[in-house]
């Protein structure tokens, strides 16, 4: 971590495994059908606007809700609505989904390029584009713009750190659509009246740093900040601190300290949307892992089943574990028929899970977890407090600050499920009404 702005933030060194660095993003063949879930974002689920039998075009809105805290969903194929089913989301909740049978014509819906003059227009345009945080969190992008006193925002931080192993989709965005990134930054800074912008990229991506640096030289307000390759560099509070030196106080939003953070792919998509008005209907994902014969970066229409994508890359038969996202924070896939959603930035298939032989033994108080935690918490004591269901102690140790990066479980010599229990501890506090 750069020592220039004071406190060194904890973290762990993780093997990068960026094998698909140089794989150019290529589209996969059109699937026969797609299943578009109504809940692909954090917030209120959408309601389907189409019935069985309707004909939909590519990019046509098929689900929305009047709530602000939601992102509309659009069809990624042209075809006929086959069925309205239900799928189980990774967190265990269920969500409605629209199954569309693709007719292969891929007829585009007549998109209008949005005309934007005021910040409010910009806000409604972004909401209409269906854009959510593409880093994996899925926070509706426009919500960050709808902050109560937007004037306090003065800085945009672009997250291109991509500290998860294997994933290179953001890296490819920096290389393949660097101009879009620049235009996107200019648009955001223009409409929100921001004064400067930082792009955080880990040092293990020199070409991206050099390319973006060259392009962004045009605007002096933008600065590319190379950061040490140390997990979890991409965590929101960590990256903001490393690039702008501002500490986001506990329990407050980044916007409270005048900063807005966006993933580099979100910014690139925003630029493309402002030009063509085409909503978010496809994702650039990295497909890799020990079971995949043809690892690489692919652009996949939202709703394609995971099985189809992996079969195309020759990684389905031998896979015993499939992850959606990276090995550190990604979620394991239970049903391969589950569709690829807006928030998925990678699919990894393994012949055998990496931490297969691990079984939990007694904690030896070695302090490695405390040294690894970027949020300065004490995972060992948090686990004790959770085992005793001692909510007062959990609050005293501020478990709510845990960002779930998994560094503690990664380094624990006894293989104890530390970050896993923090998730349950936060549920316990929420159930008790913290």
């Amino acid at each position: 971590m750069s020592l220039l702005n004071g406190k060194r933030i904890n973290g762990v060194t993780v093997r990068h495994d960026k094998n698909t660095k140089n794989a150019v993003t290529t589209p996969i063949p059109l699937p026969q059908r797609v299943t578009i879930p109504m809940q692909q974002h954090m917030g209120v689920p959408c309601k389907p606007l189409v019935e069985v039998g309707d004909r939909v075009l590519v990019g046509q809105k098929i689900g929305d809700t009047e709530h602000l805290f939601a992102a509309p969903v659009h069809s990624s194929v042209s075809g006929e609505v086959e069925a309205l089913t239900e799928i189980v989301l990774p967190g265990g909740k269920r969500s409605q989904a629209v199954v569309i049978h693709a007719d292969g014509k891929q007829e585009e819906f007549p998109h209008k390029t949005p005309t934007i003059t005021t910040a409010q227009d910009f806000f409604t345009a972004v909401r209409r584009s269906g854009l959510v945080g593409l880093g994996g969190a899925g926070f509706p992008a426009h919500m960050k713009l709808a902050y109560k006193d937007v004037e306090r925002l003065d800085t945009l931080v672009v997250n291109a750190a991509e500290c998860e192993p294997y994933i290179t989709s953001d890296y490819r965005t920096c290389i393949e659509s660097a101009e879009d990134v620049f235009d996107g930054i200019e648009a955001v800074m223009h409409f929100l009246g921001l004064t400067h912008c930082f792009i955080g990229i880990e040092k293990n991506k020199p070409e991206a740093i050099e390319k973006l640096g060259k392009i962004c030289k045009a605007d002096s307000r933008i600065r590319v900040v190379p950061l040490p390759a140390r997990y979890p560099q991409g965590a929101e509070k960590v990256l903001i601190y490393q690039t702008t030196g501002r500490t986001v106080r506990a329990g407050s939003l980044p916007a409270d300290s005048g900063v807005m953070m966006q993933n580099v792919s979100s910014i690139a998509f925003l630029a493309d949307y402002l030009r063509r008005g085409r909503p978010l209907i496809e994702r650039f994902i990295t497909v890799d892992g020990t079971a995949v014969e043809r690892p690489g970066n692919y652009s996949v229409p939202v709703g394609t089943s995971i099985r189809e994508v992996l079969e195309y890359c020759g990684g389905f038969e031998k896979a015993t574990q499939i992850l959606s996202g990276g090995p550190m924070m990604g979620s394991a896939v239970a049903d391969p028929e589950m569709p690829v959603t807006k928030t998925c930035n990678a699919l990894l298939a393994f012949t055998e899970p990496e931490d297969f032989a691990l079984s939990a033994t007694d904690c030896i108080r070695c302090g490695r977890c405390t040294a690894a935690c970027p949020m300065g918490l004490r995972p060992g004591m948090l686990e004790d407090a959770y085992d005793k269901r001692d909510t007062a102690q959990l609050r005293a140790l501020s478990v709510t600050l845990c960002v779930g990066c998994g560094s503690c479980s990664y380094v624990c010599p006894a293989g104890r499920p530390l970050s896993q229990k923090n998730v349950l501890a936060k549920d316990l506090l929420r159930k008790e009404g913290n």
Binding site: V88, P90, G92, A334, P417, K421, V423, D427
Partner: protein
Amino acid sequence: MNEFVIPILIFVALALFAGLLLSLASKLFAVKVDTRITDAREALPGANCGACGYAGCDEYAAAVIQDEVSVSLCVPGGAQVAEKLGEITGRKAEAVIPPVARVLCGGDCESAKKAYQYHGFQSCAAAAGLYGGDKSCHYGCLGFGDCVKACPQNAISVENGVAVVDPNRCIGCLICVSVCPKGVIAPVERTASYLVLCKNPQRGKETRAVCSAGCIGCKKCERTCPAGAVKVTDGLAAIDPTLCTGCGSCAEGCPVHCIVKL
């Protein structure tokens, strides 16, 4: 002689000084303490199980005396604690028969199918966080023993993948009901003789696909029950203990044998 008298005099003086000082002080500075609270606290079992809804016996004792709260809230204490509290506060003790906690799921390892191989750590709450648990049926007991750890009376054990409650150990504090992430544990009257071990409201075809011991809502039990105690509401049978005569015809009739004699 004086060698005998003088020490005695010294001690008399000392005793006088002590006696006077002490009795005066204890009288002048006495402090009023409501002894009834301490008596009430003595009467309570002291397990701090919280079944009465208060954070432990001390609070419940104070509540009984000061806020005139009902004397028969102490479930583990049962009737006899209620009586004692009644005497102390002079209020009548209503009879209280604690319910029994029951796990409404019969889907053990053989009958229930698994959606995936769970490799996380042994906790229902943890497994429930991954697609609702490793069982294909979303309403069944996951069998990782969160309730076993939480039960103060060690009345619950996991047998063949499903949690089972031992009725004579269960004191009806119902801590397990709130701990279970799948909400599959429910209070059942102690007098009930038959029980439907399933909570899956899905239609027969879907239930049968995920578990061979799940209630498929075929309404056979509803028809065969002479006392009309069984009612099938949206795909799930339920027995009303007050009407049930314990004849057991519903149990024989059930094609999937998910109705069990207690």
